[in-house]
């Protein structure tokens, strides 16, 4: 443990240094917002207030669209909902009048609930379906607002809520909204740069790997939809107050488009970008008055251009760091000696046991009665020709496929079939044949994703940036850096993962898997695409990992590596065991030699 604490203390200083430049643009925007009243008139107060209110909504929506990657195009519906709820409660035309701040809070709660309802399909379906649900919701909310006359006033509308002094002047209200916008920025940044934010990006770009690290997609998404819905409805309440009088006409679909496109122009996975996007899109029609009628058309053209020409948005333009070239002659040199500091010695005596496992796809028996024992502290090799069921075996163990027959047990406990997101908590980690890393996140963040379930702070604690959340972050970051040191990628920690070479991605995956402190590590062709030097170092690393007590199941085509480091080898052919035994026995096994090794 000493190494971790050493590293964490030495890193903390640099971490503080690196936060300030990231904050500067936000401080700049905030300062400009504070100066605005002294250099302009009431007309600009209106536009500034509008931008601030939109940002309250977009800040929440950004987590859904920019981070989780769900295309929510109908968020104007939640703005409408919030506006009407606040207005109706404050006006007291249905219930006794509620003070405006109370009304805002209740509206946020209503928005949170509906945020989840609209988001439900996103649990199972992505992209077009989710886009459609939000679009459908936007359509019906307007219809309801029109038809439910006794409450909403129908087409005639309803008076918006009014704030008391000092927030009842244009500039007073402006400052209030800027304050809320600042809080919204803070809240969304807290989530975005927490393990929850990283998990969201992991689900977006590498959902299979996210499941293997134990990230529960439904739980996380519900939290995000609650937050985004609440923020949108809160913005709705402010919007109603700004409008002073609301009718369904005020909530055109164009607004939804503005919110959505602001995020895409800003760039995925960024907060500054969407913020600038919101401000630009709010101001754009104002400074080009003849274009006002064409504003939606303009937004749509921008959207098309962004998609076709500049998928990264403003954030990619501002990302100067990622344009600096990387050293081209990088070598991965794992520091195996450091392993004992970061990987705790596994005390488990349990064996991962497969008995008579069967998996069929239609008439194909991909795995046909497989027995396998992976013992703690040993390396078990799984070899065989292509299509013999090696990767499929890993997928059954890690729960991506539910076996049609047989049992998988860990010690005395049966592993539930399917349910890949439960494997991490059982101490089973894995890598993938094609590395599944988040290209847009840094190497360090990728590795930190591996420790997501180790964090203790709840979503609410992260949202409010409470001490336990900071402790989690420090611990995860220190551990991830140490892990990167062990696999030899420390120098690349802050580089975007999609700039790395294939072989480096394989080592990132190993580091990520080790973050779980796994009892069992499943490696799927970790040596594929590596140079012979790298394979030797990889072999030593795997061996060192197993000596810490971790049971390793190694699927590999490099026979040399297998025979070098494995304690036990199982040879598969057409889903059945062709041979099993020590490397020495397998090397001379007649059928294996003729069927697979060649000789």
């Amino acid at each position: 443990m000493t190494a971790i604490t050493d590293i964490s203390t030495s890193r903390e200083g640099t971490a503080r240094h690196s936060v300030l430049p990231a904050l500067l643009p936000f401080i700049g925007v905030f300062t400009l917002a504070m100066i605005l009243p002294f250099v302009s008139n009431d007309y600009w107060a209106l536009i500034g207030t509008r931008a601030a209110i939109y940002w309250v909504l977009v800040a929440g929506l950004n987590l859904v669209v920019g981070f989780a990657g769900h295309l929510a195009i109908g968020y104007v519906a939640l703005l409408t909902l919030g506006a009407y709820t606040t207005s109706v409660l404050a006006a007291g035309n249905v219930l006794p009048p509620v003070p405006i701040y109370g009304a805002l809070i209740i509206a946020s709660c209503v928005g949170a609930v509906f945020g989840v309802i609209v988001g439900l399909p996103a649990m199972r379906l992505r992209t077009f379906y989710f886009a459609m649900t939000t679009l459908g919701f936007a359509t019906i909310v307007t219809q309801i607002a029109l038809a439910w006359q006794s409450v909403t006033g129908g087409g005639i509308g309803i008076v918006g809520p009014e704030f008391s002094a000092p927030f009842n002047t244009p500039w007073g209200f402006y400052y209030l909204c800027i304050g809320f916008a600042a809080v919204a920025t803070w809240l969304s940044a807290n989530i975005a740069y927490s393990r929850f934010g990283r998990a969201l990006i992991a689900i977006r770009d590498a959902d299979v790997a996210a499941e293997a690290t134990g990230i529960s997609k439904p739980k996380l998404l519900v939290s995000i939809f609650l937050l985004a819905g609440a923020m949108a409805a809160f913005a709705g309440g402010l919007f109603a107050s700004l409008q002073t009088y609301i009718t369904p006409d005020a909530f055109t679909f164009d607004l939804s488009v503005l919110f959505f496109i602001a995020i895409l122009i800003g760039g995925r996975g960024s907060i500054l970008g969407p913020m600038l996007g919101t401000i630009i899109l709010t101001i754009l029609p104002e400074i080009a008055a003849p274009l006002a009628a064409w504003s939606t058309f303009l937004y749509a053209v921008l959207l098309l251009l962004i998609v076709l020409v500049m998928p990264g948005g403003i954030a990619a333009l501002l990302d100067f760091k990622s344009r600096r070239p990387l050293a081209s002659n990088r070598a991965i040199v794992p520091r195996i000696a450091g392993l004992s500091d970061v990987l705790r010695k596994t005390a488990t005596t349990r064996t991962l046991t497969l008995r008579d496992v069967v998996l069929t796809f239609g008439n194909v028996r991909a795995i046909d009665g497989l027995d396998l024992d992976v013992k703690p502290g040993q390396i078990h090799g799984l070899i065989g020709p292509n299509g013999s069921g090696k990767t499929t075996t890993l997928n059954v163990i890690s729960g991506y496929y539910a076996a049609k027959g047989g049992t998988i047990t860990l010690g005395d406990d049966a592993l539930p079939p399917g349910m890949p997101e439960l494997r991490a908590s059982k101490g089973i980690a894995r890598t993938f044949q094609t590395p599944r890393v988040i290209g847009e996140a840094s190497v360090l963040q990728n590795v930190m994703v591996g420790g997501t379930i180790e964090g203790e702070a709840t979503f609410a604690e992260a949202l409010l940036s409470l001490p336990r959340h900071h402790r989690d972050e420090r611990k995860l970051a220190a551990q991830a850096r140490a892990m990167l040191g062990v696999v030899g990628l420390e120098a690349l920690a802050d580089v975007r993962a999609d700039r790395l070479q294939h072989s480096e991605l394989r080592f990132i995956e190993i580091a990520r898997a080790l973050m779980l402190q796994p009892d069992f590590l499943l490696l799927d062709e970790p040596a594929a695409g590596l140079s012979s030097d790298e394979i030797t170092r990889l072999g030593a690393l795997i061996k060192a990992i197993s000596r810490r007590g971790t049971g390793v199941l190694l699927v590999e085509h490099h026979a040399d590596l297998i025979f070098d480091i494995c304690d036990q080898v199982t040879v598969l052919n057409l889903g059945k065991i062709l041979a099993a035994g020590t490397p020495a026995e397998i090397r001379v096994h007649k059928e294996v030699v003729s069927a697979y090794l060649g000789g």
Partner: protein, 285 residues
């Protein structure tokens, strides 16, 4: 009342089904669900009204021109919003590019045509009450379209080629099928189907720019219920949706019907993500 429910329900359902088939036709050759499907149907109504009422063309000429115009919009969709993003199908950029194009179409219509619903001329001049042509015309159009598509897919070489591409794009290309041209053709065909939907439904829905977004959603519901690319599912789903919606409309009022449709949509998506008649999902690992 039962008569009105069935008449208006089948009529609306037929339009939804046709929009659903428009989605499917584009999806089959490109694996892209395009937001322009509903806009094409909206344009069918707007172009029809423009050519026949504003310009005074005879019905047949107006109809033919409407279909040509919609087919052109379909082809534009392919060139502008689909072809450039096909390479990155995995990232679902098509959702954004087709949305952008759909918004452009809607906005141009709103500005050039106006934001008020405008009348659509009577086409045949047959029937009154529940037998009014505005009710049976969409149903007949839907039936003829389905028959035409069945003939195309089963009896003609081009239809077989469409099926081959829908089944396995790579294999079809390996066989030497002109995949790109067939895709353009399918987008033109989708434009025609959308145009038919809008033209036949013109008297019921009027020539109104906001129909596009509405039909985008109500046309997608049958596709989601029936499974992507499944025309039979879209037909059954569309008619069921129309009947259900109109029944709810007449019996309990408009708000409830939209809420009920939305609720059913979400519940079905959660219970059967690939649709009631859908196929299994793709391999992930």
């Amino acid at each position: 009342m039962l008569g009105s429910i069935i008449a208006s329900g089948l009529a609306a359902g037929a339009i939804y089904a046709l929009v659903g088939i428009t989605y499917n036709t584009m999806f089959s050759t490109s694996r892209v669900m395009s937001f322009t499907a509903g806009q094409l149907a909206m344009l069918g109504g707007v172009f029809g009204s423009l050519f026949m009422l504003k310009m005074g063309m005879p019905t047949l000429v107006g109809f033919a021109l409407t279909l040509v115009a919609c087919a052109i919009i379909g082809v534009i969709t392919e060139f502008v919003a689909v072809r450039p993003v096909l390479k990155s199908l995995e990232q679902h950029l098509y959702v954004l590019s087709t949305l952008a194009l759909a918004l452009m179409i809607q906005q141009v219509t709103a500005i050039k045509w106006g934001t008020e619903p405008q009348p659509f001329p009577r086409i045949v001049g047959l029937g009154t009450g529940v037998w009014d042509e505005k009710f049976w015309l969409p149903v007949v159009a839907c039936g003829l379209t389905i028959l035409g598509l069945e003939y195309l897919y089963r009896r003609t070489l081009v239809g077989h080629a469409f099926m081959a591409i829908a089944e396995d794009n790579f294999a079809a290309r390996a066989l030497g099928l002109p995949e790109r041209n067939l895709r353009v053709a399918s987008y033109a065909l989708a434009g025609v189907i959308g145009g038919v939907a809008g033209f036949a439904g013109g008297e019921l829905m009027l020539a109104f720019f906001a129909n596009g977004a509405l039909l985008n959603f109500y046309g997608f519901v049958p596709v989601a219920l029936g499974g992507l690319g499944n025309n039979r599912g879209a037909l059954i789903g569309g008619l069921a949706l129309g009947l259900f919606q109109q029944a709810a409309n007449f019996l309990v009022g408009g708000i409830f019907s939209s809420v009920a449709v939305f609720a059913i949509f979400i519940i079905v998506l959660l219970a059967a993500p690939s649709g009631l008649f859908g196929s299994a999902t793709a391999r992930r690992v």
